[in-house]
């Protein structure tokens, strides 16, 4: 393991500036949206027409479930409907 002098510690601290606050907040919003996302995905698996409507308008589908279509939530829904 590396030996740390204070100059090295300072250099390493500088390598990790904070991510933009808005990005962090958006990613944190996923947790409260989890139950709603689960519902949408379950219904989409059972109903192909519903799935097509959701895929065509992810934001609208989230809003219809009472979920804030924050970027992280929209992205999570996209990933779950189209796993790579």
């Amino acid at each position: 393991m590396t030996s740390y002098d204070e100059e090295r510690i300072a250099e390493l601290l500088r390598l990790l500036p904070p991510a933009p606050e808005g990005w962090v907040r958006a990613a944190q919003e996923l947790a409260p949206a989890r139950a709603g996302l689960d519902d949408i995905v379950r219904r989409a698996e059972e109903d192909a027409a519903y799935r097509d409507r959701v895929v065509a308008d992810l934001e609208g589908a989230l809003a219809a479930e009472g979920l804030e279509p924050a970027p992280a939530v929209v992205e999570a829904l996209r990933v779950r409907l189209d796993p790579r």
Binding site: Y4, L16, P17, P18, W23, Q28, L30, A31, R34
Partner: protein, 184 residues
């Protein structure tokens, strides 16, 4: 010294649906993911933001499939790296001809530095307040002594000596970890 929740404990709490734990997990790894996107792979801001959100969306989705809770950091690193490469490939297909992708492995050294920086960051969390905030404001946010003093209600003239003392405490924590690791 402050007590910090381990990565494994944090993951376990996230699995149980603990929203506070998820917020903390995002907070804990946000700088790391951001640095991989913006420093190691030098993505443009809009691409970095997309990758950042996709990383956490996938972590959230696949948390239950993680084999070992302690493996969260390397998993996040690998996932971020893969998504950055995908993004660069997509951009190079859409961009002007002749744009070169970085060779695989070019960013390895940068990633190793970021791993080390994350370990220092974890040690800083152990040191606790007010050192965590003072060092973060000075080194990570580039704030002046005056700004730090105003924010923390401390005389600006004492900030330099506080930074020095806090660096000393952080070094003690890091040296302790080193000694512990060597004695195992």
């Amino acid at each position: 010294m402050s007590t910090t929740v381990s990565d494994a404990e944090l993951v376990a709490r996230c699995r149980r649906g603990d929203q506070t734990a998820w917020n903390e997990l995002v907070e804990r790894f946000s700088r790391y993911v951001y640095a991989i996107c913006s420093q190691a792979f030098r993505l443009q801001s809009h691409d970095a933001e997309d990758v950042f959100q996709e990383v956490f969306a996938r972590v959230y989705q696949h948390l239950e499939r993680l084999r070992s809770d302690e493996a969260i950091r390397p998993w996040i690193a690998q996932l971020t790296r893969r998504l950055c490469i995908d993004r660069l490939r997509a951009d190079s297909r859409e961009g002007p001809a002749g744009e070169e992708l970085p060779e695989e492995g070019d960013e390895d050294e940068e990633l190793a530095h970021l791993d080390e920086a994350l370990a220092v960051r974890a040690a800083l969390d152990e040191v606790g307040e007010p050192c965590r905030e003072i060092l973060d404001r000075f080194f990570c946010c580039d704030q002046s002594y005056r700004t730090i003093g105003d924010a923390l209600d401390l005389p600006a003239g004492t900030i330099a000596s506080r930074i020095s003392r806090c660096l000393g405490k952080l070094r003690e924590v890091l040296d302790g970890k080193k000694t512990g690791a060597e004695s195992v």
